[in-house]
Symmetry: C2
Subunit: 185 residues, 2 copies
């Protein structure tokens, strides 16, 4: 029943005792935290049964807001996942409010980019921070998005600056649950 | 694991021997048809096990392309599902090509509305035809969208005109699989 075409990347993040990533800390930025787990395993596909303390699934796929010029810039600047030097990672699950989702596309786009400059102001960080955005809302998950980031230890400060910047913008007033997990391998 | 908030409508369409809708005919407009079934059952939620000959799931939720003015007009004109006189229905599962999904948001929007006038030219039909669009792509389904329509028998000709109009537009050049099921109760 679940067969994803090329260009889509379904994944399940499993917090528990297994996996190559150690969960170094968890911060509940907004709303409920996740249960405490020691390690993170990332499995390809939507896994509905597993061990572990928690399990979050999402699907990376087409862009929802980025326009042609933005996508071209982002694609050119973004490193791939799995760089050997990227031994630090972050998993940031986010849920946006009902108020966000009832807005039409043009108003969500205006908040996201014209007013919060989500893409434009993230671009300077892009070369150092590999990133994949998983969509989870249509899957009936407890979060709407799971974003996975990978970076070298010396770029953790820059990553902190990036998330602090985004959290201070208008877009983030629609975020009603956010957990920030930091990891190392 | 699957808990949908208010404003989202997950549903599973099951083609088989049960359900209040009789499948009167099926047309494979593009690509493979579905297996032949006599009746259609619509279940709330994402059902992963069932009897039946085929099963298609999707989730209705937030708008992907409609802007404020369009959404306001559509909402004002659109009748609810379940009108007693709406004893005819159509279920039209559609898949769009990889070429569509690699386009950025602004180019998909331009094809969808500025060039194909999907919303603007559908508006005159809206009062007679109740409609709910289910998104299925993130669910790993064989179709990207399932659109469910309900109308009175005397409006079937108008419905035929509506789908013929949309199929003749540029947007539809990106449709690589489409099945048109017509039903009655």
């Amino acid at each position: 029943m679940t067969v994803y075409p090329a260009g889509m990347f379904p994944a399940t993040f499993i917090g528990g005792a297994g996996g190559i990533w150690t969960i170094d800390r968890m911060t509940a930025v907004a709303g409920e935290p996740l249960p405490v787990a020691d390690r993170l395993e990332i499995r390809e596909g939507i896994v509905t049964v597993s061990g572990g303390v928690w399990r979050l699934a999402g699907v990376a796929g087409h862009t929802r807001y980025a326009e042609r010029a933005e996508k071209t810039q982002l694609d050119a600047l973004s490193p791939p996942l799995g760089r050997p030097e990227a031994t630090r990672a972050a998993l940031i699950p986010i849920r946006k409010s009902a108020g966000w989702w009832t807005l039409p596309q043009d108003e969500r786009r205006a908040i996201f980019e014209e007013r919060s400059r989500h893409i434009a102001d993230s671009l300077p960080f892009a070369p150092r921070i590999a990133r994949r955005l998983y969509h989870a809302r249509d899957l009936g998950q407890p979060f709407d998005f799971l974003t996975w980031f990978e970076f070298a230890p010396e770029d953790e400060r820059a990553f902190d600056d990036l998330v602090a910047m985004l959290r201070a913008r208008e877009e983030w007033s629609y975020v009603d649950r956010e957990v920030d997990l930091r990891l190392s391998r």
